[in-house]
Amino acid sequence: MIRFTWLQFRAQAVVVAGALALLAVAAAGLLHRDDGAVRLWLGVLVLVAPGLIGMFWGAPLVAREFEEGTFRLAWTQSVTRTRWMAVKLAVVGLASMAAAGLLSLVVTWWSGPLDRADLNQFATFDQRAIVPVGYAAFAFTLGVLAGALIRRTLPAMFVTLAVFVAVRLTEFSWLRPRLLRPVLLNLALNPGSTGYGQQGTLSVLFSSPTLMPDPPNLPNTWITSLAVVNARGQALTTQVLTRACPDIGQGGGGGGGLGGHSKAPQAVVNRTQDCVAKIGTTYHEAVAYQPASRYWPLQWYELAIFLGVALILAAACLWRIRRS
């Protein structure tokens, strides 16, 4: 059964292995290792590769057999369908993990100097090291299960992509910050580096203006939250702020150390800094962050979670095939 799986899969495996070899050669010789744009695109490649694996290796694996009727050929050979499914999951699944792992290895190695200079390792957390292996295992088994349930290749591919993206977004924005309890840091508000305005991009629509301290300088850490709170942990509200400083924000331009913007009038800057000093007597800056040393524990943690989910999905595939 292993030899048969390889017989069917080898053409695709050879193409992907060739592409990886080409990329490795290019990375070793042709791509300049100080090119930020290349670093960005390689990161994007690592990010999307698991999704592509799920769509093109996972979803068609069983769906195409149903679509073309060949499952009737495959399941009437002298091999039980449970074994048939298990071997296919194992062989193509391991190939998926190897492909994502090798791609990540090449990109992680190539980007090393830029990553180290950047001092922001968590910005590329899911494009480096070992987590892409977990994403690939998850995407692949997800694709196989979608194909086994839907039995049509194209819809299974789209469902795989949609679920994979949804899971990754949820994981990245909700689960990952909660995997390990963050380290808390309380800082006095610094009038020189605290601005006034609205936070975020989407949240601008819903939030009201407040004080915005600059993040502290903690290289290679991941700051998961940043807030202005009082001794009881309550966040600074717009009401409290405007009561303390009725004239804040008037006279145009945002103030304080958020460099790069057009310079605000000196009067406005002074007014904002006075306000921050005043608020700073009862409020402080509360920072929650993952220290640099948590990078590898988080990588292993996340890899284990995705591998675990992949195993559950693989079991679901076996269960589905056995009773179809």
């Binding site: 053409a11 009737r72 009437t76 002298s78």
Partner: protein, 252 residues
């Protein structure tokens, strides 16, 4: 593997039923087919022929009742699987895999595989081993599917409407090669079709299935002879089958 423990009954079904969601594809089917015959299964579309054969090959599991093939439960483990060769309707093959690749696949997956016999058959048909199966004509594809099923040396060969989509010439050739394969081998065969003429070429035993019920079953020679005896005049098998299919009253 070899038919040393051949049961007298090739296939026994009792109250056999299969439901897909709300629709019963087969229900309350009870029949017994003796071993050592080349059995033709005939009936109108929707009679449940394909469902019955899929149940016999172990491709699907029954919703109600039981079915036994060669004394075992269909699809129950590699030994039972190795004893049954199956050619599905429309004779599916892997379009991207070469003809030789298919033979290698069957060699990997079947312990009783007769590679020399398989290559001999393919060569005899003038099919290039390097050709992709997706490029074969309908007749060639059916022959490849038959070769795969035959060269695993099964005790029972099941063919589900293998000629339904073939032109008359390919149809005749295919049935000839089935007949040639069966001769002197002792393989049991069950072949379904909705055309009696197809079955007459190959079979010596007939089962007429209408709406999951057996309307007529027996050796073809015996059926014809007994009818001759009763009515006093010879009858064509075709007419006998049509008469069996159109009789009313005994269904549910």
């Amino acid at each position: 593997m070899n038919s040393t423990n051949t049961a007298a009954t090739l296939l026994a079904a009792s109250g056999l039923g299969k439901r897909y969601r709300r629709r019963w594809a087969l229900s309350g089917c009870t029949l017994e087919i003796p071993a050592g015959r080349v059995v033709g299964l005939v009936g109108p579309n929707g009679a449940g022929k394909t469902t019955l054969l899929h149940l016999a090959a172990g491709l699907i599991a029954p919703t109600t009742g039981t079915v036994e093939v060669l004394g075992g439960r269909p699809g129950d483990g590699p030994v039972q699987l190795s004893r049954v060769g199956f050619v599905a309707q429309d004779t599916p093959v892997y379009p991207g895999l070469s003809v030789g690749g298919h033979l290698r696949m069957a060699g990997y997956l079947n312990p009783g595989w007769d590679g020399a016999e398989a290559r001999r058959r393919i060569e005899q048909l003038g099919i290039d081993l390097r050709q992709r199966a997706g490029r074969l004509s309908g007749g060639q594809r059916a022959q490849l599917a038959l070769t795969l099923a035959v060269a695993k040396r099964p005790d029972l060969l099941i063919l589900d409407e293998p000629v339904a989509s073939l032109d008359p010439l390919a149809r005749r050739e295919f049935l000839r090669s089935v007949a040639g394969t069966v001769a002197g081998r002792g393989t049991n065969v069950v072949l379904s079709s909705h055309l009696v003429a197809d079955l007459e070429l190959v079979c010596d035993y007939l089962v007429v299935l209408v709406a999951s019920r057996v309307r007529l079953a027996g050796g073809i020679a015996e059926l014809l002879a007994s009818h001759h005896e009763r009515s006093g005049q010879p009858v064509r098998l075709d007419d006998l089958v049509v008469a069996a299919m159109s009789q009313t009253g005994d269904v549910r």
